[in-house]
Symmetry: C2
């Protein structure tokens, strides 16, 4: 399979959440750097280190048959030429389930290598309050 | 107060955990970039954005009178000239409390500016299992 070249961290992030929405394991793993030091933390889950462990965690998640659609907002960015960090609020909906789900917070890290940008860390966790987000005016965040 | 100059992300990280162990608010805030886009997420807490909000969250935590001592291990690093990300396992102990506490996972982001390295993001969350860490051999992680 020819690998897609991502020309920015934002492109990788869009592909990451699209792969998640489709529960598409190949597409998901194509956004990750093939590296033994990639790190993935699902909400309330253990830390997974290394491409194989990260792949297995997504395989298990997708095999559950639950389709998660995630919209992100309130992105805060730290970036340099070769490394970019996004902190985002994740708004979760589950296909076929109209209940409101609490948002998550994710820190996503991307590295630029010979084959363009790839994800190297995804750290997601639960957050208790939505109301706090309203206090974060647009002057403070990058959308 | 003259601000300390940190010459590496690792130095900032050491100062961060020392300030935490001493519940020293001034020392804690001296490790953070004075920026409206710094982000701090305490375990299971809401996202705090901006220097003032981050300061207030530490003030509240320290005013509780509980002294947290945190040892970190299993550091995974992504770094570039101006930006560095550390993912670490945090081992927590509470002064005067001999109980074992579950570890936390933290993603810490540092930026190099005119005044040396500073922290710009701290994202900490709970993690369920210690046993998973034993599977992460030294070939996969940077200590």
């Amino acid at each position: 399979m020819k690998k897609q070249i991502f020309s920015s961290a934002a492109e990788v992030e869009a592909a990451f959440y699209e792969a998640l929405a489709r529960s598409d394991l190949d597409a998901m793993m194509s956004v990750w750097a093939e590296d033994e030091e990639v790190v993935c933390i699902h909400p309330d889950g253990p830390r997974q280190v290394g491409f194989a462990a990260v792949r297995e965690s997504w395989r298990q998640l997708f095999s559950g048959g639950i389709r998660l659609v995630v919209q992100t907002s309130h992105r805060v960015v730290s970036s340099s030429m070769l490394l970019t960090v996004h902190n985002v609020v994740e708004h979760i909906s589950v296909e076929g389930d109209d209940r409101l789900h609490p948002p998550m917070i994710a820190t996503n890290t991307y590295v630029r290598g010979a084959l363009g940008w790839r994800m190297v860390m995804h750290h997601a966790s639960t957050t208790p309050e939505v109301t706090d987000l309203s206090a974060q005016g647009p002057h403070r965040v990058v959308h």
